[in-house]
Symmetry: C2
Subunit: 339 residues, 2 copies
Amino acid sequence: MRISSPEALDLAALLLRQRGVPPAHADLQAAVLVGAERKGHPSHGLQRLPRLLLRIERGLIDPAAEGAFVWRAAAFLSGDGENGLGPVVGEKAIGLLAERIGETGIAVAAVRNANHLGMLAHYVETIAAHGCIGLALSSSEALVHPHGGTRALLGTNPVAVAVPVADAPPFVVDLATSVVSMGKVHHYAATGAPLEPGWAKDADGRPTTDATQAKAGAIAPFGGAKGYALGLAFELLVAALADSVLAPDVAGTLDAERPCNKGDVFIMIDAARSPGVAQRLAAYLDVLRASPPETAGVPVSVPGDGARRRAERADQDGFEIAPALLATLHDLSRAGCPA
Amino acid sequence: MRISSPEALDLAALLLRQRGVPPAHADLQAAVLVGAERKGHPSHGLQRLPRLLLRIERGLIDPAAEGAFVWRAAAFLSGDGENGLGPVVGEKAIGLLAERIGETGIAVAAVRNANHLGMLAHYVETIAAHGCIGLALSSSEALVHPHGGTRALLGTNPVAVAVPVADAPPFVVDLATSVVSMGKVHHYAATGAPLEPGWAKDADGRPTTDATQAKAGAIAPFGGAKGYALGLAFELLVAALADSVLAPDVAGTLDAERPCNKGDVFIMIDAARSPGVAQRLAAYLDVLRASPPETAGVPVSVPGDGARRRAERADQDGFEIAPALLATLHDLSRAGCPA
């Protein structure tokens, strides 16, 4: 069944306000969840809301917290998220970077103890809206096995990059360094569909295409040894900058039992000031789009184009939501806050 | 046939000095080329030297130049490489970043018009030797097709990351975002071995396993859509920061006819100051190494371990060099500089 974006935003914000989330924080958290739905990534959308509400009710999320930040050096912002909502702490960090970027040209924020950020694209788009290049990295629970290994020891270690281009929305990449998300594995398990070979191992480390077995096992890194190497580099980078724990000790992005102790890193860079650069990038992306495709009728795509098209469509026609999820959200809304 | 590292260093430095390269620059360029050989990456080693010498003789490389740098902002160093040797300009940039890092915590250098850097690992290792996290990116000629496309429009867009860890050499990743290097394709063509399916397209954009056909065509990005997305993000990042051209307009890293106009980006970041972090990272890497492997007897590897083992072995026993290449280098040495 379909729901319009404004209706989804109102419902999500209401649910959050009912549990004591300040209105501005509720609107931001709702916008990040609905933004993922609009872009066609329901794994980072409203299905995360019931657990998020439960975490608030249990005191695992402090909905008023915005994080405590200190400039460790002129361009290095260090933050403790103080169990705040991920988007609230993330946006606060980026706002502080934006105040400094004119002076330093590049600045980094490293944050620990904030809750789940949702889709990283949101944050690099915020940075790009300042005319800057944005990078975002975040750590997570151990779900991914090393290349040549069998045990879930790495996070999905997502990365997002945005680069402003002329006369168009920014170029945006947002991807996990796992071959597939654990959300997708759960979706396959729910529908009984087999996974593709090579995607996962079971709890004993054996290759499996059974999604139910894979849920207790590990997902492969994307792109073999190279994807493993990059994902591991991002994992170490986040822990080293945020002083946060490594994947096997991360909790709180998926459960409703433990505080969230992962790390987040945001890097903001002033792009080259030569006026020609943004035009050059835009023209180059158009050359890619117009280049001969591998399959006739399937044009070469630039990362982010698909998400943008889906979001535009969602703004016209709304987006699909599972009836059971919508019913749960309405029930939670009628119940108000049990606390 | 084998050559010792000191012998190779002496020969390479002599060849460079014979062509007017200042001794310190010659030693550094030789160390970067021989370093790649020691790590087992001859594609970035001495086989590049004859062309490099030719570029010096033709005035395409200014062997005395160290680049002209300006701090565009407190933590943003902008450089024109002035056709200098890649390692000379790169090390100069990193030295300037190192002077600033205590004040700013993060700093970036974006450089255009320097010659080929060689293996990026060298530069992030230099940064790690300052106790900092290093990232290096460099652009290149168009050799890689977009995912879903057929034409060589992207560079191989290599990336290197180093993260210091306690009581051990730093963690180092250095990889191209192509599934295979063009150097390897040339090697397959020379030996007549077939490429793996999916690695390359021919000049007409058709899939090919014929390395000779692939040389005139395009290599695939690694890891499908995700690797394409990351490689493209790096490509845009370098051009946007260095104000350099995009891959289709890059020249001078492979030929001996044109000035080198690609871009290089170095990022230096002060790691977390909590004393526990470097220990935590080292312990985590050991957990990965000791984890159950996919194939019995083939331990899980951490990126950089193999290169380090090969370098240690080379320091004991020397490394393999093709007799024809060694003969060419000796001939060039006897000839001195024709200019």
